[in-house]
């Protein structure tokens, strides 16, 4: 019972905090541009407004376009329920497997690109292609680093991994640290932050597939994208920075784990926001230069794992 409560708390926490996190990121950006900026609650207002609007779909759009926003948000919610965030064990063990999580992260991307083609706009299609390209480039590094950690901890369950990293039992320590660095870079790419993806402006190419959505669908997608940023950051925090998460499920321990988790997440998101504003967007021909470097780091961590240091 307590596990289910934890899962529900995690989902509510990430979904309710996501617009706030996005609002704070915008505020940080505004401050770095020496602008006043909008309120940090602006995303909540936007979502409420969009939710009340009626929905308009382009003429050629079919089932995929209608189904994509709920699938996008729903997948993120499912991932959030399974991660070992405030306790070291997975609240829903079935969802806490690395392979499940990786596939669950691939599903929204697939649907996103499919919807981009489905809405029959030429700009959205280019945006969808960019999204797929990013996936192809970043997923090898994600998979390889998680595999290194799985081998180092002897399990593909995220809870077991978090437990063995938190108790410093993951064996070749340097391999785990290098994998952590590579995973942090890969997560940053996956978050869709600035050098790689969505900027704040909503031009056709930049938010690509979103251009053809409106009303509640757009609200769901916007919420889903901010939840995705939090989920990816939480995945990094859960697996590589599990220090402080509750090792036994007592109410006090869980409360302490919750507070610490929010603090760690806030730190990671703030760091990402600062990096985001210090760089400029890359042309997508050059994306590979950065992502292959991350893959190189992941490969190095794998070599360290093999030679046992």
């Amino acid at each position: 019972m307590i596990e289910l409560t934890v899962a529900v708390i995690q989902v509510l926490l990430l979904v309710l905090l996501a617009p706030l996190a996005s609002g704070v990121t915008r505020k940080v950006r505004a401050k770095m541009h020496t602008r006043q900026g909008t309120s940090i609650f602006q995303d909540y207002y936007d979502l409420a407004k969009l939710w009340r609007r009626c929905e308009v779909q382009p003429g050629g759009a079919g089932l995929v376009s209608r189904a994509m926003p709920p699938i996008f948000l729903g997948t993120m919610v499912i991932i959030a329920a399974g991660l070992p965030l405030i306790a070291r064990a997975c609240p829903v063990p079935l969802l806490g497997d690395v392979i499940t999580v990786l596939y669950l992260m691939a599903l929204p991307r697939f649907m996103f690109s499919l919807a981009a083609l489905d809405s029959a706009g030429s700009y959205t299609a280019v945006g969808g292609v960019r999204e797929l390209l990013l996936g192809v480039l970043v997923e090898p590094a994600l998979i390889l680093t998680l595999m290194v950690l799985a081998l180092a901890c002897g399990s593909t369950n995220l809870g077991v991994m978090a437990d063995s990293v938190a108790s410093l039992a993951a064996y070749p320590p340097v391999a785990v640290v290098v994998a952590g660095v590579a995973f942090a870079c890969a997560c940053y790419v996956e978050m869709g932050k600035l050098p790689f993806d969505v900027a704040e402006a909503e031009q056709e190419l930049q938010e690509g597939p979103l251009a053809e959505f409106s009303g509640p669908s757009l609200a769901m997608l916007k919420l889903g994208m901010s939840v995705k940023q939090l989920v990816v950051a939480s995945l990094f925090v859960a697996v590589f920075l599990p220090f402080g998460a509750a090792s036994v499920a007592t109410p006090l321990g869980l409360a302490a784990g919750l507070v610490l988790f929010v603090a760690k997440l806030a730190f990671v998101m703030l760091a990402a926001a600062v990096i985001e504003n210090a760089v400029m967007r890359v042309r997508y021909q050059y994306l590979g230069r950065y992502t292959w470097f991350v893959f190189g780091l992941a490969a190095l961590s794998f070599v360290f794992l093999v030679i046992g240091i």
Binding site: P173, V174, A175, V178, R289, W292, F293, F295, G296, L297, A299, L300, F302, V303, F304, V306, I307, G308, I309
Partner: protein, 218 residues
């Protein structure tokens, strides 16, 4: 924690710092990373000395600190100042960073495979570090081959030299200081000679690009 695993962790840190030396964009940052790597090397000697109980290794670490952490980076930074603001010092390497990292990973792996065939009683527990020492020879070679600036090629020589130093410490921790001076410490003279040559080449030809300098032969 004070056992061979600490030595192995420091060995891995050597690989990471030497990658930073190869990948750094400017000669100044390379020199600073080289100083950092030498500091890791000194720590490795101290750790190895504590583990094996060899007093000679503490002496080695003292001489390595004086020559490698202080003198060699100092000489290189001084050379950089002598050469002046010639943009050639910071020429980009011929290989992209990603390929460099991949190449280093492959080299470390191949060296580990090579070392796992060696069966020495003194090196059984520190095989990963022995692989790192061997790999440094190839990382140094990589640095020399891919760098276009002859100033940065000096770092390749320094990395090779660090590798041989680590290998010597692992295989013969009881060797007297005189042997160490003969094998490792005298490398500082090579660095001085290379630095003087870089200065003179820069003054005469006004370029540090190895491709341009290749035109001079014959």
């Amino acid at each position: 924690m004070l056992d061979f695993s600490l030595v192995n962790v420091l060995g891995a840190c050597l690989i990471i710092t030497s990658m930073a030396v190869v990948l750094a964009r400017t000669g100044r940052v390379s020199a600073q990373f080289y100083a950092l790597q030498s500091a890791v090397l000194v720590a490795l000697f101290v750790a190895l000395g504590a583990v094996t109980g060899s007093t000679e290794l503490y002496l080695w670490s003292a001489s390595a600190f004086a020559t490698k952490v202080l003198l060699v980076p100092g000489i290189l930074l001084f050379t950089l100042r002598k050469v002046g603001d010639s943009a050639d010092v910071d020429l980009p390497p011929k290989l992209s960073p990603m390929k460099c990292v991949g190449l280093v990973a492959v080299e470390v792996f191949v060296c580990f495979v090579a070392v796992s065939g060696i069966d020495l009683p003194t090196a059984a527990a520190v095989k990963p570090t022995l692989a790192v020492a061997l790999a440094h020879f190839f990382i140094g070679l990589t640095c020399i081959v891919i760098q276009r600036s002859i100033f940065k090629q000096i770092f390749g020589y320094c990395l090779m030299e660090n590798g041989s130093h680590v290998a010597l410490a692992l295989l013969a921790p009881q060797a007297p200081e005189l042997v160490e001076v003969g094998i490792a410490t005298d490398a500082i003279f090579a660095v001085i000679i290379l630095a003087v040559m870089v200065c003179r080449i820069a003054r005469t030809t006004h370029t540090l690009d190895a491709d341009d300098l290749a035109e001079l032969k014959g």
